[in-house]
């Protein structure tokens, strides 16, 4: 270990700093005469000295007001040998030390987010996509849901959704600015708009599932499934753009499942145990979407479930 590299993490808006040793010593402390200056009130003016001795590096503790931890354990000896990758805690600052030969992980594959990384998403692209997606959404809703031929309702609905997407993207941009110093606002806007459109395309599948099965329970589950899928994809991309998290897809999926679960429980917790009106699948789709078969009358009558026995 000829050269010692000390990684001092950044605070606030500052990024991390890497300090390379040039000769056999590195001094660390709050004082400005040190090689590594830490702005941490719990660190002494002269706190540590890194010493090179015969191709190995050692850390010496110069002041013991507060404990110094090496890899999580308090350092009691006046001098300890360092290995590449060791973690040192002084005051409230965590440092790590490396040598030049310290192994690094192979590069992570970007998968579908490679495009996002390779291209800077400009405002025109994002806004155009949002506009087109919004228009298609409103049109789709009008053509499939509007039994009173009222175009205003879908239009206002889409405007509201677009505003919500703009705010969502802004929140993630702020987070990205704080964590990665890169807001990527228009990238967030673009992915949010695209995912929202994806949901518009997929939600009818949930409706089809309910219609085909004549089960409102299945329809509800399918709707939640689509929502979880959409939310996972969206959060995965948001997290990728805004944070340095390693497992963005997994985190996003877990979070989405938890949120969906809580929403489901919350909505059904409100249900009174007694309901004066019947609960049944009322969804009717056009005949060409009826692809499952029909039962004979007697069969259906024979399968009619009796009223609950003990409610």
């Amino acid at each position: 270990m000829d050269t010692l590299i000390v990684n001092v993490p950044g605070r606030g808006a500052r990024g991390a700093s890497l300090i390379r040793s040039t000769d056999g010593n590195l001094r660390l402390g709050r004082g400005f005469h040190n090689d590594i200056v830490l702005d941490d009130p719990f660190v002494a003016a002269e706190q540590l000295r890194f010493v090179r001795d015969d191709h190995s590096w050692y850390v010496e503790v110069l002041e013991r007001t507060n404990p110094v931890l090496l890899n999580g354990s308090p350092l009691r000896d006046p001098r300890a040998r360092l290995n590449s990758g060791d973690q040192i805690t002084v005051g409230r600052t965590d440092l790590s030390v490396y040598d030049e030969a310290h192994p690094v992980d192979p590069p992570r594959r970007l998968a579908f987010s490679s495009w996002l990384s390779a291209h800077r998403v400009g405002p025109w692209l994002a806004l155009m996509v949002l506009f087109v997606v919004g228009g298609l959404d409103a049109l789709a809703e009008f053509l499939t849901q509007s039994a009173d031929l009222d175009w205003q309702k879908p239009a206002y609905g889409v405007l509201f959704s677009a505003a919500f997407i703009a705010v969502w993207a802004a929140v993630w941009a702020l987070l990205g600015r704080a964590l990665r110093h890169q807001p990527h606002y228009f990238a967030h806007l673009l992915v949010s708009a695209l995912v929202s459109f994806g949901m518009t395309l997929l939600l009818p599948l949930a409706a089809l599932a309910e219609f085909a099965s004549s089960s409102e329970k299945l329809g509800e589950i399918a709707t939640f499934g689509v929502a979880v899928l959409g939310l996972s994809v969206l959060l995965g991309l948001n997290l990728f753009l805004a944070t340095n998290l390693r497992r963005t897809a997994r985190t996003a999926l877990l979070f989405s499942v938890c949120v969906a679960g809580l929403v489901y429980l919350g909505s059904h917790h409100e249900d009174a145990p007694f309901q004066a009106e019947p609960v049944y699948s009322a969804l009717v789709l056009p005949p060409f979407m009826h692809v499952t078969g029909e039962r004979p009358i007697e069969d259906f009558i024979g399968s009619a479930a009796p009223a609950p026995a003990d409610d």
Binding site: P273, Q275, P278, Y280, I301
Partner: protein
């Protein structure tokens, strides 16, 4: 005109000349005379909450037996029947004295009850064996709105045509509180028991014949049995009889849209039709619905006996298939029975929904059933069907019955589904 009346009229003439009022107007003094004679036979019936000592329900009743049997409506005393530990009955007579009473017999189908009053003996009303003439003057006594005993005059207008539970029409000014009171002719013979107010100068009476039958039953039983079980038995028997008739009859058919559907399923149902095609709705629909007009009172919050069916035809108009079926989805609803909203009386509905083949086409069908908790064998049942034969037209058919045996409900629904035919 009877000899009595003729004599009275002749006596009046000279007295009219002498202008001595008070001895004339035999018709006007009819009501007052009857009131004076009969008032001590009529009571205010009170259901009293034992805990607070205050009256919860009031109605009227009248002595039908000199030993102190008092007739009233079932709905006046139903609270006591359902919660005997919480309530008691009092009879308030014209002498200002209250007497305790107990329920001896009930007829839930005709909304009647016989009470046994303690120290309530005295002269009793007689029940008529004949029927008054249409339009004949009859009288009703009772305690409207707890204001005191009154007598009102009205006209007898006979048996309501095609009523399932037999009611007489009384064109008089009945009011709440008079329920259970007697309606009688000029001789004081009871024609019916006041049961409900129908509207302005419109009231309903239960024919005296049913009171006669109940009185016979009451006299045959010294001790009242389990009244709730009696209610359950009577309801089930009547329901089974009514629906067995519907199942056995051959249903007439009529054209409705492109369908041939059963019609006139029961004379006791009233039917209305409507065509709704407005500028606001971009699709058109017309419908026909038939509904029973009478209900059986079980408690203030629980009615039964409803039977209805309806047919609806929708056309897409300017809507595309998706828009049209969004509208159809909004219309694909079960009949709202709205007869009970109490978890202690009924279970939740349990529904079975699936696609069914009816006369060669696919229909989406849904059957929902819920059970009565205190009346074994009885359910509320509902069926709704929607056709899936066309992107531009749809038919929605509904049928619902409150207080029906499960097997009969399913048989009825099956009969209806089998009866649906396409005309083209």
């Amino acid at each position: 005109m009877s000899p009595d009346q003729t004599l009275r009229r002749l006596r009046c003439l000279p007295l009219l000349l002498l202008w001595l009022p008070g001895l004339c107007s035999a018709a006007a003094s009819g009501a007052s005379a009857l009131f004076e004679t009969l008032r001590d036979r009529v009571f205010q019936v009170r259901v009293v909450d034992i805990a607070s000592g205050d009256k919860t329900t009031i109605g009227s009743g009248f002595r039908v037996d000199s030993a102190g049997l008092v007739a009233t409506n079932f709905h006046v005393v139903s609270l006591l029947i359902h919660e005997p530990a919480k309530y008691r009955i009092e009879l308030l007579g014209q002498d200002g004295l209250t007497r305790p009473a107990t329920v001896l017999a009930i007829d839930v189908l005709h909304d009647l009850a016989i009470l046994r009053g303690q120290q309530a003996d005295g002269p009793a009303f007689g029940l008529t064996s004949g029927t008054p003439g249409q339009g004949e003057r009859i009288y009703s006594m009772g305690n409207p709105e707890d204001l005191g005993m009154t007598i009102i005059e009205g006209n007898y207008n006979g048996l309501i045509a095609a009523s399932r539970f037999e009611r007489l029409l009384f064109s008089g000014s009945l009011n709440p509180g008079m329920s259970g009171g007697p309606a009688f002719d000029r001789h004081g013979a009871v024609v019916g028991v006041t049961v409900a107010k129908g509207g302005e100068q419109l009231g309903f009476l239960v024919p005296a014949a049913h009171l006669q039958a109940l009185l016979r039953r009451a006299n045959e039983t010294a001790v009242p049995g389990d009244l709730k079980a009696e209610i359950a038995r009577a309801l089930l028997e009547d329901s089974n009889t009514f629906f067995d008739q519907r199942l056995q009859e051959t249903w007439h058919r009529g054209r409705f849209g492109e369908l041939s559907l059963p019609r006139d399923l029961s004379p006791s149902l009233k039917c209305w039709g409507q065509n709704t095609e407005t500028k606001e709705s971009d699709y058109s629909r017309f419908h026909q619905q038939c509904q029973s007009q009478e209900y059986l009172f079980l408690t203030e919050d629980f009615y039964t006996g409803d039977f209805s069916y309806s047919y609806e035809w929708l056309n897409a108009g300017r809507l595309n298939p998706f828009q049209f079926y969004t509208a159809v989805t909004h219309r694909y609803t079960h009949t709202s029975l709205e007869n009970v909203d109490d978890a202690e009386q009924v279970t939740n509905f349990r529904c079975t929904t699936d696609f069914v083949r009816i006369d060669g086409t696919a229909w989406k069908a849904s059957i929902c059933l819920r059970r009565y908790l205190e009346y074994p064998g009885l359910n509320d049942a509902s069926l709704v069907l929607v056709s899936l034969h066309s992107n531009r037209d749809a038919a929605i058919i509904r049928m619902a019955a409150a207080g029906i045996h499960r097997e009969r409900a399913l048989a009825l629904f099956q009969k209806l589904m089998r009866a649906i035919e396409w005309t083209r």
